[in-house]
Amino acid sequence: MGEIIFLSLIIIISSSAIWVVVSPNLVHSAVSLLITLFGVAGLYVFLYADFLAATQVVIYVGGILVLIIFGVMLTNKIDKPVIESNSSNKIIGLFVSGFIFSILSFVVLQTNWQIAQNNIEGDSTVKLIGYLILGKYLLPFELISVLLLAALVGSAMLARKKINE
């Protein structure tokens, strides 16, 4: 049962990710990105990363995707029924991305990965992540909160209406 769900997750993720990059309609791309992000959250559940799966759903699906759809709606004339998104450089793009994918998959398949054998189901990861955030990773945590604040203020300043000087 678990394997069937896992395989269908992989198929859903890869097909919707392909549709994100080739769809001629920008809104279709955004909706397929939603499906991809949900599928990746499901993969996190398979990797015993419960907190990360919840974070993925809350931040990516609830935050970033809403921002992207806002961007689509604010930068197009939405009286048109189809918001187009053309592609160019298809040959070069196919060549470069196919090259990178073949190199990466060659490396992945050739390497003899050392798998740790002590992987059994453990407790929820939330407690350990909390200890790590307030202990070993306290300084990066505080730094990233300052960075988030700076990005918030900066993007609000960039996107506001200019007052006539």
Binding site: I10, V21, L47, I115, L158, A159
Partner: protein, 103 residues
Amino acid sequence: MNNLQIYLLLSSLLFSLGIYAVISRKNAVAILMGIELMLNSANINFIAFNRFTSNLNNLDGHLFSMFVIVLAAAEAAVALAIIINLFKNLGTVNVDEAAELKG
């Protein structure tokens, strides 16, 4: 072919699709979507390596991928502000037409 390799193959597929989107798309928002795909593939790698190659009490990969998610949120906000400004100034979000340095 073990389980780790399946995750790594999937994440390299997502990464190369993101590169394809960045190279071939004309709309700036679609390029942003490609960047989000690439960040997601990096996250899958972090968590898969953390799950398969370390012991259970080591969650460093989870923390790294949390930081990547926060950075992606900040990056999306700033990029959308820039794209909206681009649309206000030039009337288009086509990155091929945005070729002037003076606004």
